[in-house]
């Protein structure tokens, strides 16, 4: 197989005596969507935080395309190609929908220190932002203030920010949490579209088994912070390790439904 886009080696973090992520070594390849599953508290979001840099690792390494990014700050990792959408909606609440996306486009284009030009004169940024908004079907709400959006639209915007960033590694943390049945497919279709792009690797933390079944090329299971299983979806769901880890209840039963 070709060299991975993202690799974590013995990645560990301890909070006091508690090992939240325990020696996780895993490689993520291009054009692959990896679902990360496990019960609540298994360390999925913490694992994400270690990769994107919000929490410093106690030990272990994170490499992006063969280069170590362990020493880098969150913003440096973002610019290097790690993009993250958050589990709890995490936006700029008093700015408009368009401003939110345009801020990402602007970061991507490295124009943050442009002091004396009017932001509205950068039509190329506005156009790029509008293209992204069209993809997530938020174009009509572009002038709306984010805090006035519905929960579902905020989730879509969360995904829009990540799409605007267009990173090498897309990290989605329960992207459809709390979305209605008619809205969730929009986000899931977008993620499916992203899979078609070349040289991108997608990581998805998800509880819903039907979502994982349709989208995932591979599943890794975290249990008590450690990697419990890794492989093709059908194999993982059937594997002894997983069955055992969940005391014979079967993966679907153990994961529960939201």
């Amino acid at each position: 197989m070709t060299s991975p886009i993202l690799r974590t080696t013995d990645l560990t973090v301890r909070f006091g005596g508690h090992v939240a992520v325990d020696n996780v070594s895993c490689a993520f390849h291009a054009n692959q969507l990896t679902a990360i599953v496990g019960p609540n508290g298994a360390g999925k979001t913490t694992y994400f935080n270690l990769i994107s840099g919000q929490i410093p690792a106690s030990s272990g390494r994170v490499e992006l395309r063969g280069q170590s990014i362990s020493g880098l700050s969150v913003s440096q990792r973002t610019r290097a190609g790690i993009g993250r959408a958050f589990q709890l909606t995490n936006l700029f609440p008093n700015l408009s929908v368009l401003e939110n996306v345009r801020l990402v486009v602007q970061s991507k284009q490295g124009k943050g220190f442009n002091l004396f030009s009017m932001v509205t004169k950068h039509t190329e940024m506005t156009e790029a932002a509008e293209q992204v908004l069209a993809r997530v079907r938020l174009l009509d709400q572009r002038e709306q203030i984010v805090s006035e959006l519905s929960h579902g639209d905020q989730r879509k915007l969360e995904v829009a920010l990540l799409i605007a960033l267009d990173p090498d590694v897309y990290m989605f943390d329960e992207p459809t949490a709390g979305m209605s049945v008619d809205e969730a497919p929009i986000v899931l279709d977008l993620i499916a579209e992203l899979k078609e792009q070349d040289n991108r690797s997608i990581l998805l933390v998800e509880h819903k088994m039907d979502v994982i079944r349709t989208l995932a090329d591979r599943i890794i299971v975290l249990h008590n912070g450690a990697l419990a299983a890794d492989g093709a979806p059908a194999d993982v769901m059937a594997s002894d390790v997983v069955q055992e880890a969940y005391m014979g209840r079967g993966l679907e039963g153990a994961l529960g439904h939201e």
Partner: protein, 356 residues
């Protein structure tokens, strides 16, 4: 044209636009509309405080950074012009050198303070600025050999900016609409134009890509970092910029007063005034600086007279004249502030924009 002068950031409220227009016209024509030493002095102060308050708004309202050292930067600019004019002799070159070095020193000071404290948490920055500002105020009053100590410095400016300089004798007979054409008039327009350029410059900065990043930091610095902005760099840059503009406002003040002293430029009282002006006008709006500074400076200068007159009117009625006595103007100023913050929590500008 107007759109690009105002950087696309229009008042977005008819009443606000009218109010701002009226204030700007009054300031632009102050020496002709309100001739008199005191009125023109008030107008000049309003111009200078608009710049100072706007530069503070850039930091507080846009960047979400609380600083208590803003008067220090203001003072650095004022002392820059004073020292340059004292040691280089009177001249426009001395003003330019003083203002430029004041702005550069202020920006460097801000850079050092920012790099040390903004890495951690915004509250440390507030505390450190308080400490540094107090230290500098003490230093200035102690180093009397250089700064004139508590007495401050009186210095000479170019003749063209002084009342003794007369012009336009041949064409206008020395007066225009009954106003004497002298250097003080030129000094006023020097201050007015300087303030106008600085204000429009800041309005451009807050509507630039950089300004948007500052707003993003204020809203959610965690996410700003996660979309690739190195938060500390932007905060430090905003602090330096704000400090440099505050120093330039200080330079204008020095040019206007032809005097600098710790009380007029460095005191904690002025710092509190600035805070009040930002809050009254409306944080994070820039236009709030115009409204806030105008209301505040007018109240500071004329509330006492107004109350004296009011107290005279109600003479004979028990208690009221006492309550409205001119000596109680500070009490009423305080009451006005409490009421304005209570009724306009988003400032006058925020309130007017809500209505439209």
């Amino acid at each position: 044209m107007i759109n690009s002068l105002l950087s696309g950031d229009l008042p977005r409220s008819k009443l606000l636009a009218l109010l701002l227009g009226a204030i700007v016209i009054c300031l632009a024509l102050a020496p002709f509309l309100f001739p008199g030493v005191r009125t023109v002095d008030t107008a000049a102060r309003i111009c200078i405080f608009i710049v100072l308050v706007a530069s503070y708004d850039l930091l507080l309202g846009y960047g979400g950074i609380v600083s208590f050292a803003h008067t220090m930067f203001f003072g650095v600019g004022a002392y820059g012009v004073a020292l340059a004019s004292t040691h280089m002799g009177r001249g426009f070159d001395a003003i330019a050198v003083g203002a430029a070095s004041g702005a550069i020193i202020a920006a460097l000071l801000a850079l050092v303070i920012g790099l040390f404290s903004l890495r951690v948490r915004a509250i440390f920055f507030a505390m450190i600025t308080l400490a540094v500002a107090s230290a500098v105020a003490v230093l200035v009053s102690q180093m009397s050999g250089l700064t004139g100590g508590e007495d401050g410095l009186t210095f000479k400016l170019p003749r063209e900016l002084g009342p003794a300089f007369k012009f336009g004798k041949e064409t206008f007979d020395g007066t225009l609409f009954g106003v004497k054409l002298n250097g003080k008039l030129l000094a006023y327009y020097f201050v007015f134009l300087g303030a106008l350029i600085l204000f429009l410059g800041m309005l451009r900065v807050v509507n630039s890509p950089f300004g948007r990043v500052l707003q993003a930091l204020r809203e959610n610095d965690f996410r700003a970092e996660a979309i690739g902005y190195r938060v500390v760099y932007y905060r430090v840059a905003a602090t330096c910029l704000s400090a440099a503009v505050a120093a330039l406002a200080g330079s204008l003040y020095a040019v206007w007063l032809r005097y600098v002293g710790p009380d007029t430029t460095l005191s904690m009282e002025i710092m509190i005034d600035i805070l009040l002006m930002v809050v009254i006008g409306g944080m994070g709006t820039m236009y709030g600086a115009i409204i806030g500074a105008t209301l505040f400076v007018l109240a500071q200068n004329y509330l006492q007279n107004l109350m004296g007159a009011a107290s005279g009117l109600v003479e004979g009625i028990p208690i009221l004249p006492e309550l409205l006595s001119a000596d109680r103007w500070l009490l009423w100023l305080g009451v006005l502030f409490i009421l304005s913050v209570y009724f306009f929590p988003t400032g006058v500008v925020g309130r007017l924009r809500q209505q439209s």
